[in-house]
């Protein structure tokens, strides 16, 4: 792959003022077991390259699966033709050159691709069997594991040459229960807002040891029982009350309210066609109050084992930590080289591409909420009346990232400092800065956990990023909850 990258750069003419190439081989394995079937297995292999060039101040990008000599020449020709077709541009400022030459490999204990399929199926089948013990109202159970490996080479005309290998592992379980009138679901250890097949659960940049650490079999019976119990639970009351969100639910809340809005390309208008804009405009940096003073958010691609961790991003910039919200005030962006230069700063190392055939975009890495000094138990004990919710079932937010509604899998009423009845179909709504201004308690360091989510969508053509969220439970006052 290194030879291919160097060969491509060698084919670029002198008119190219900047060029970079990524050669990537991705392997993906999905193993899935079901309540009403024996399971499936899928294996994917994907190899190709993506080439970016700047000619006369305009970008060109071309990607191909053909890695022979003719294919390389052809992809260079297409990228050049594209850049030249649109006339001379204003120039592309990429900031400081990237010249790193290195190798990086993500840590793991057990290579998941060496674990026999039969062993994986046995674990999943056991989890399904445990979930089925919840009784005849269990309608559907799906347990799955996914493993990814990216071997990639990045090289650019500035002299960078970076070889990386990333291994990611994850697994999860979902149980649907039905009594003929209603359908409810519970997931473990992490929910996915859409109905998808596989690629659910919690993921890490790690090996098979992560899957074994999740306790799928041990938790399955509880998950199944809760799905069944939800069928007869009362719906969430419609009221304005105190809301406590679990760390799992916080992951998606933080993702939508703070993560996407603080992507620099969105702030610069580049994502308007699909995803929209953001309230976090450049002139608001350093002054816009996102939330209460206890709210601090950072992005960190160096967290060991977290799904959004890597050595270098897809522009060759080292993984790093960036403060985004400090004492409740929006202070900075996730950025890539071009967007950072447009904002007059250095890249935060967040340019990531979904495979060889896609352009790097500004993406979240591991977006994290700094823990506070409370705990879930203390928050509940300190609440006279409210609702505690867990696991995200659906997410919708407007194109400026302000008005949102989250649906959750499960809720509990809180009465006089104690958890009460189970509640179903709980949703809550808010407007980002108003909602976060009423955050009055955050769980402590011992409740801080990174959730690995392999399904963040952005861009056109659509790209799916693997990201992490370090979160704690949190309490919000004056929140509109209900079922609608």
């Amino acid at each position: 792959m290194r030879d291919i990258a160097e060969a491509v750069l060698g084919l670029l003419p002198s008119a190219v003022t900047y060029g970079d190439v990524r050669v990537l081989h991705r392997t993906h394995e999905l193993v899935l077991a079901e309540h009403d079937g024996p399971g499936d297995l899928a294996h994917e292999e994907s190899t190709g390259l993506g080439l970016r060039v700047v000619v006369d101040g305009q970008w060109g990008f071309a990607a191909t699966h053909r890695l022979d000599r003719a294919g390389l020449a052809e992809v260079v020709g297409r990228a050049l033709a594209q850049a030249r077709a649109v006339g001379a541009g204003p120039g592309i400022d990429m900031g400081e050159p990237v010249t790193t030459q290195t190798r990086w490999r993500s840590p793991m204990v057990v290579d998941p691709f060496t674990v026999p399929v039969s062993k994986k199926l046995d674990l999943l089948a056991a989890a399904v069997r445990e979930a089925e013990t919840a009784g005849p109202l269990v309608q559907k159970v799906e347990a799955s594991m996914d493993f990814f490996r990216d071997d990639k080479v990045f090289a650019n005309t500035e002299g960078a040459l970076i070889e990386q290998t990333l291994t990611e592992s994850g697994a999860g379980l979902v149980v649907f229960a039905s009594d003929g009138n209603d359908i409810q679901r519970r997931s473990y250890p992490q929910a996915v807002p859409r109905t998808i097949r596989g690629q659910r659960g919690d993921f890490a940049t790690a090996g098979y040891e992560h899957v074994e650490s999740l306790g799928l079999v041990e938790e399955a019976a509880r998950v199944g029982s809760e799905a069944v119990a939800l069928l007869s639970a009362p719906p969430c009351p419609e009221e304005t009350t105190t809301l406590i969100v679990s760390g799992s639910n916080m992951a998606l809340l933080l993702h939508e309210c703070a993560g996407h809005p603080m992507e620099a390309d969105r702030a610069l208008g580049s994502e308007v066609s699909l995803a929209g804009g953001t309230y976090a405009s450049p002139e608001r940096r350093g002054s816009f109050r996102y939330g209460s003073p206890i709210v601090n958010v950072f992005a960190d691609a160096t967290l060991p084992g977290a799904l959004g961790s890597f050595g270098y991003d897809d522009e060759g910039v080292p993984a790093q930590r960036t403060e985004l919200i400090t004492d409740g005030v929006f202070v900075d962006y996730l950025s890539g080289r071009e967007s950072a230069a447009a904002l007059g700063q250095q890249s935060s190392g967040a340019a990531r591409a979904d495979g060889w055939q896609r352009l790097p975009l500004v993406r979240m890495t591991n977006l994290c909420l700094v823990p506070g000094d409370s705990s879930l138990a203390e928050m509940i004990a300190g609440t006279d009346r409210g609702v505690f919710v867990d696991m995200t079932k659906s997410v919708s937010i407007d194109d400026m990232r302000l008005n949102f509604r989250l649906g959750t899998e499960v809720g509990y009423e809180i009465r006089d400092g104690k958890l009460g009845r189970l509640l179903k179909n709980c949703t809550y709504t808010g407007v980002t800065p108003r909602f976060w201004a009423d955050c009055d308690a955050l769980g402590g360091q011992d409740e801080w956990q990174v959730h690995g989510i392999p399904s963040c969508n952005k861009g056109e053509p659509l790209q799916v990023a693997h990201i992490g969220h370090g979160t704690v439970p949190a309490r919000f006052r004056n929140v509109r909850v209900g079922t609608k």
Partner: protein, 439 residues
Amino acid sequence: MTIDGEQVHAALGNFGSGARLEVSEEQVGLLRYARSRITAQHNENRLRVRVRLERDGKVAVGTLETLATDAVRAMAERLGEALWALPTRPVGARGGTAHPGPAVVPEVSEVTRKADAAERFAWFDTIRKGLGDDTGLGGSIRHEVVDRVVADDTGLFRHETLTKASLQAIADRDGRSASVKVLHRDAARIDVDGIAGRLLAELAPIPQRERFHGTCRVLLRPQATGTLLATYGYTTLGAAGFAQDRTAVAGRLGSPVASGLVSVKDDGTDPDGLPSGFDVEGSPRLSTPLITDGMLAGVVSNLEHAGVTGGVSTGHGVPFGWRFGADPSPSHLFMAAGAASEEELLAGVGNGLLVSRLDYLRVLHPKDTLVTGTTRDATYWVADGKIVAWHPPVRFTFRMDEALNAILAVGAERERGEQTFMESVTAPAVLVDAGPFSL
């Protein structure tokens, strides 16, 4: 055809019994722009080979990006080992067969096939100049050609070439935005010259009003109706959910599920959508009535769930590992046009809201068809049948079945749209009575 048929047959031979291949060669060109500047270009050439091996009721699936013999043999070996490890599935899981007739052959557009970066730039430049310097332009222009083959070891071999051109233009001025989305198999059928004028007309210099609170009649323009229809179809009109009592329409065949003005079909053969002849299982896409004059008339199926549709798949199987689930799902939805002109629809609103686009529509409770989403781009207030003011964007949380039951009038003009989970959706404007939508 760019896919080598002999290579496909050779690959089938290497995979052995129970193999089905879906091979697609994709060429995609894209131009993106924001604030009237080009922000990205994309050009992709990709071969995708999906193989599904089924033996003794066991299924393993592989994806690779070559038909080279060595790679195919390596994948065959890997999948063979996987099948060995899987437990046996009970025989007889398949619910039906594919329709034996020929599949429709979509028209291939040479204009789309030949469109290049210069053509995309010319489109962009035409719209940008048409809007003028005081109006920003964002969006994208995309041309794609997909050559696809579905073949199996029983002799099935279907091939089609799908061309598609699409254009999204979002114009903004003074903090207000309007959008146009057009797509067609034939790039020559897209009226690029008319787009700037349409956008400028939308950006009318009328007052901004404060948010209305309460319920009112709502006029959904075709793109908004299309989003509603696609989400409803995906949520409720598949055979698996129907058979397993997971959807709002389960058990209601022949019963009213929408206003009598509503007729919906799924039809991969209708050129008013984006036709395609067959699904991933090689089953021809059948024209399938789903709602006729408000009554539930059918659902869409794949081979596994064809028992629900008379033992014959309607041609709506989805790829293994599809992000949106494993159940058969509508692919080419159409709502029948009505007779109302735009003026008549506006008159029917009286005092109410006009919605151009529904965005980020997400399902809260599938069986209740409860969804939440926001309006985006031109959202107007209508008074006495006239557009009189811009209205702030609105979040709606509503039941789709209630909205479909409350349709009072259907527009005469339809627009073609698409969703990430649906190849095309073609819909008219609809006037929805007060009730389902609360502001």
